[in-house]
Amino acid sequence: MAPINDVPTNTLIVKYNGIFDFDEMYHVLQNWIKDQGFWFEERTYKAKVPSAAGAEHDIIWDGWRKVTPYVKYWIYVKWKLWDLKELEVVKDGKKKKLYKSRVRLVIHGKVELDWTKRFGGSKFAQALAEFYNKFIVKKNLENVWWDECYYRIFKFHALAKEMFDMQAKDNAYYDVW
């Protein structure tokens, strides 16, 4: 039986329908991923204008970060925007370009173990890897690595809610990791 090398985190979803600053949000969120030390990749950007109701955009981001020679954190972000329309509003006497849309952000991550493939491919090495993951590093995995990966992703989730100016934007775990 192959050892478990990928430990996924919980999936977090943000859904929003209203007016927001898409330009700023796009920059802030991707800068956050880079500032946290992740290698950022925008895997897909799809856009279409199916009707007069507005445009539809699909964006997929992923990022990874080497923590130790054995552990890597991954973050995956999927944007889906429907009925995206540009608006001009006057704020504090200045014209500003905002967007009205229905947005769904799906955020999840994983902890990748043995990303350097130290345990090789033989059955014996795989069995050793399984023993190592289940017994030797189990506490570290549960209390440190998975925990850190998940709470960092939770901060990203909180930042997204803050950008949407949602009422539940406060992050109760702002000081965790």
């Binding site: 898409f22 330009d23 796009y26 920059h27 991707q30 800068n31 990749e41 925008e42 895997r43 897909t44 950007y45 799809k46 856009a47 279409k48 204008v49 199916p50 445009a55 955009h57 964006i59």
Partner: protein, 205 residues
């Protein structure tokens, strides 16, 4: 291992590291010919085309054009530009275009009519860094025995540096595509610098 008959995938037996992989898909009004020219010029200016960007050397290895009266034009394009960094490293960009439902259209832009196209374009990009592309090490009677050691340990830092450089170049190309198609971009320095008009709509009189 080569298949029977001698044909094999072009990356068989090659040592490469994937630096970036991305795709852009857009279904809207845009000028297809100008998009082609824009990206062609970008590759020439950034040194991806040998011999000063002469068209005869442009690495367009496949072009398919299919016209259908009901569904419009379909275009497939494969570009394979390469950049030799030194005798050991080479950058490769695999760019695949697929355009469907392309039809001619006219749009009003700042009070003027422009001829353009409507359809869907999908551009997929793979950026790979190839090591020992000329087989200098692997064919040498002595170096071939120490190549693995050098590749994994001694050249590791420079491999990572080159991988990052290729990643940056690939994302700048990606940014150029998105700037042209008027999609959201995020790099601090914009590509194309508005030299090529967005969506192919020319400068109004």
């Amino acid at each position: 291992m080569a298949a029977k008959g001698g044909s094999k995938h072009k990356y068989t037996d090659r040592i490469y590291i994937e630096a970036a992989q991305m795709r852009v898909k857009n279904r809207d009004f845009f000028h297809l010919k100008n998009l082609y020219i824009t990206l062609h010029e970008w590759l020439c200016e950034e040194g991806w085309i040998p011999e000063n960007g002469k068209d005869i050397n442009f690495p367009e290895i496949y072009y398919l054009h299919r016209d259908h009266p009901k569904t419009g034009t379909e275009v497939w394009l494969f570009w394979r530009p390469e950049k030799e960094i030194n005798s050991y490293y080479k950058y490769r960009l695999d760019i695949d275009w697929h355009c469907i439902l392309i039809r001619e259209a006219e749009v009003m832009h700042e009070g003027q009519k422009f001829k353009t196209n409507w359809g869907e374009v999908e551009i997929k990009i793979w950026a790979r860094e190839e090591l020992d592309y000329s087989w200098t090490w692997r064919n040498h009677w002595f170096l071939k025995h120490i190549h693995d050691l050098f590749r994994r340990r001694i050249f590791k830092t420079s491999t990572e540096v080159h991988k990052l450089e290729l990643y940056r170049e690939a994302y700048r190309f990606h940014e150029a595509i998105k700037t042209y198609l008027k999609l959201k971009t995020y790099l601090p320095e914009p590509e194309l610098q508005e030299f090529f008009p967005q969506l192919g709509l020319g400068t109004p009189k």
